[in-house]
């Protein structure tokens, strides 16, 4: 690092321009304003009292009644519709479905992007945001029939990690 001592000295001779007087005054105002609004918020905030809204209650009950009526009609129709459907292939029995057993789950991260520090509402400290792009694959196998089932899908995960420099 000694090689750079001369240039470092030259750089240190440069003095950054000072902020205007106005900026300090503005910061003082903003801090005072922040204090005032915090006090006002504390005064204005009152415990919420329970207040029954008859209109909302009535509408809610009407909607619930309508839902029950339609649900009843659909339940009644369901057997008739089922009888009209022709079944060319036998439906899998519950036992054959349950005989599929999970054989593997893989997760391949193919891209990681560090999006830097972010300030998230409600958190005091900054958070580091890292975005992971992955492909997840789940596998099942039926030991009786030898059939296997594989589902693969892309996924994205965002991880926020609190950062503290203290």
């Amino acid at each position: 690092m000694n090689d750079f001592s001369e240039i470092e000295n030259e750089l240190k001779k440069l003095r950054p321009a000072r902020p205007s007087e106005d900026l300090a005054a503005r910061i003082e105002c903003a801090l005072a304003e922040a204090d005032r609004s915090a006090i006002t918020a504390a005064i204005v905030t009152k415990p919420r009292r329970f207040h029954l809204n008859w209109l909302s209650l009535g509408l809610g009950l009407a909607a619930a009644a309508a839902f029950l009526v339609f649900a009843r009609i659909n339940v009644d129709r369901t057997p008739a519709q089922t009888n009209r459907v022709a079944q060319n292939t036998p439906a899998p029995s519950p036992s054959s479905i349950s005989s599929f057993i999970p054989t593997g789950a893989t997760q391949v991260v193919y891209h990681t992007h560090d999006e830097g520090l972010h300030f998230t509402a409600g958190y005091e400290e900054p958070m580091r945001r890292i975005r992971y792009q992955k492909r997840e694959t789940l596998q099942w196998r039926n030991p009786n029939t030898g059939a296997s089932l594989r589902v693969s899908y892309p996924s994205e995960e965002v991880v926020l990690t609190p950062v503290s420099g203290q």
């Binding site: 470092e8 950054p16 900026l23 204090d35 420099g165």
Partner: protein, 163 residues
């Protein structure tokens, strides 16, 4: 905790860090007024949350975050500013106090540095942050911060020797 930000000593902290923060903010916005707006917002945000005042990395990270948000929010305006700056560099208020001719050449060389090197240089030279603090503020490794600093000095040294 004695060194937590309180309203009594913000002026002391601001007089110490203000010029460095302003210079740091000027990297993203060429207008001094915008840079002061960024510093104001960052400083007030930092102060209101009662962070430790020796947490300079967080203070710089706050300035950087607000500056980047401003650019994203108003990218068109930032582009116009950048164009205006390249067209009429002389009309822009200087980032440093009175400088002689050789220093002007040095300032121009600093302006030509790649952005990631310049921000490390500004934090290291004029705010005297450690590499660990710079690494935290920028979200990079300690080694990356140190090597960017060396690259910047190397480029400036070459420029300085050719004069």
């Amino acid at each position: 905790m004695d060194n937590v930000a309180t309203h009594e000593d913000w002026k002391v902290c601001f007089s110490e860090f203000g010029p460095g923060l302003l210079l740091f903010a000027r990297q993203w916005v060429r207008s001094p007024t915008d840079a002061e707006d960024i510093v104001q917002e960052a400083f007030v945000k930092f102060w209101r949350r009662n962070h430790r005042i020796d947490n300079r990395a967080l203070l710089y990270a706050t300035v950087r975050s607000i500056a980047l948000d401003l650019i994203r929010r108003d990218s068109r305006r930032a582009r116009r500013e950048a164009e205006a700056f390249s067209d009429a560099e002389q009309s822009i208020e200087p980032q440093f106090e009175l400088v002689d001719e050789s220093q002007q050449a040095l300032v121009a060389a600093i302006d030509r540095l790649p952005h990631e090197q310049r921000e490390v240089l500004v934090m290291k030279i004029w705010s005297e942050l450690t590499f660990a603090e710079i690494a935290t503020a920028l979200g990079i490794s300690h080694n990356t911060a140190a090597s960017r600093y060396r690259y910047a000095l190397n480029a400036l040294k070459k420029n300085f020797q050719t004069q």
